[in-house]
Point group: C2
Chain length 301, copies 2
């Protein structure tokens, strides 16, 4: 993975673009002092990889550089959802740090997340990018629909793989797609990459450890969220099936690992990566986008 991600990072101009995005995020978020700066600082850190602005930059057609506002806007939407997720989960620990909002209270954190949302659209609008605003609003609607779909699939071991993949496309794929479209590229690559990214996330939730991912493994299982590895394992193991439906969880992740469902899930994620790569046209950063897709599916964190 180190080598493939290094190919991506070496893309001409990428480091400068990401530095510009970071500056704009700082101005949008950290420059306010007080509440927004503190909650924003945490979200700035938690966002970490800046995968979405990276997609925006690398998607640019030949001879163009996407506006910094485009990369920042998509990252701001991502950050806003992180802040709101933390709130709803009551997840007071993200990547080992207490959530900043505990000092300000839930109402303030909710409003700070709302503000990050507002800034995302504000940055794009300031460039007069009306199409970009519509793209990002559509992605926000998809996020909402994805959460509603997830709710309807909760505790349901009969969730189909197609239903699961639709949820991944809504929850993760559409914002990746928006990142690419805002860069002037094609959305198909982003959507397919987002689906494989989500599958790998769900595999790591079955297998990863807290130190690497900042998440306690098995959160999906405890929430009754049927993910791909859980659904595949449940086809052959009544205990896993019962656990998805709300039954005892003891030892279930060991059974999932033993069933081979993690490897089969990786294969399915790999299939989406292949399709993502195939969907790329003659975009100049094609080698980097291909390497990024490989890195997404090979990652361990």
């Amino acid at each position: 993975m180190t080598t493939t991600i290094e190919v991506v990072r070496a893309a001409p101009g990428l480091a400068e673009y990401l530095a510009d995005v970071e500056d704009l995020l700082d101005r949008s978020v950290a420059g306010h002092g007080g509440l927004v700066a503190e909650i924003g600082a945490e979200a700035l850190t938690a966002g970490g990889k800046r995968l979405r602005p990276m997609l925006t930059y690398l998607s640019a057609p030949v001879g163009t550089r996407p506006p910094v506002e485009a990369g920042a806007a998509v990252e701001l939407v991502h950050m806003a959802t992180l802040v709101h997720d933390d709130l709803i989960d009551g997840a007071r620990v993200r990547r080992g740090r207490a959530a900043a909002w505990t000092a300000y209270g839930a109402d303030a954190a909710r409003a700070a997340g709302d503000y990050l949302f507002a800034r995302a659209f504000s940055e794009l609008a300031a460039r007069g990018d009306v199409g970009g605003v519509a793209t990002l609003a559509d992605a926000s609607l998809a996020l909402a629909r994805g959460e509603a779909l997830q709710r309807s699939q909760r505790y349901d071991p009969d969730t189909t793989v197609e239903g699961y993949l639709e949820r991944c496309a809504l929850k993760t794929g559409k914002l990746f797609e928006a990142a690419c479209v805002l860069g002037g590229g094609s959305g198909d690559y982003g959507r397919l990459l987002g689906v494989s990214f989500q599958i790998v996330d769900d595999i790591l939730d079955c297998a990863g450890d807290t130190l690497q991912t900042g998440k306690i493994p098995g959160t999906d299982l405890r929430d009754g969220t049927p993910t791909l590895p859980l659904l595949l394992a449940a086809r052959e193991d009544e205990v896993v099936r019962a656990a998805i439906a709300g039954g005892p969880l003891e030892g279930v992740l060991v059974r999932v690992a033993a069933s081979g469902a993690l490897e089969r899930s990786r294969e399915i994620a790999g299939g989406f990566v292949v399709r993502a790569k195939e969907s790329l046209g003659d975009v100049p950063a094609r080698p980097e986008l291909e390497a990024l897709a490989d890195a997404v599916v090979d990652r361990n964190t």
Copy 2:
């Protein structure tokens, strides 16, 4: 109050403008089916008075009609905060109805609120109204700061009246101000009106009954939120003072009423209404804006 609000409603073109806003809100919200439509339908109802789009329309300079998108955008931000408030409060009953989001889960409702936010900015951006987007983003920041300030004032009976009024300006005044600015008018009227609106809300929380306001009275006291009537009463009554600080609440609202603090709070609210009216220039709808200000301070719900 009936007569003053009837003066407002009779403003030429207002009913048509509000009907157009309603159509746009319907398209933005209810037209999606499923989650957003259902959560949106509740927020559409809960929003009720459409006070903010009314302000947008009435603020228009002579010979102009504000874009429908402006009135809808400010109402969408208001609706988004209602959805998120419900979530954070865990308030499952608003105006006697179960919150729609209980069917979809908190994550979905949070995301639906995010989407309403996105639509607000999207509507303005679609008109190319970059300044309007910035105004609305600033108001969103003020909402966040107001919530943070409220948190810092919680359980503090030494909160100053100035500190309380600053909170009102941030939490309520800035969005009223934005409504007026988006209509092409002056923000001062909106901000001052918003402060008096919030004071009256806080009076009603001490005095109102559940049927009229849809809120159980005394929520501020139970939350330890020091409002104007509570602070004024606490100056002369140690029991009220102790209650703000987290002490026993039994009988405290009766003491607040007996102290005359409700009347003094109405007088202060009335002072803001006077200042709001004085800040009006030669806007054509001046009589209606004056009547609206009177109606805000005279209302019982």
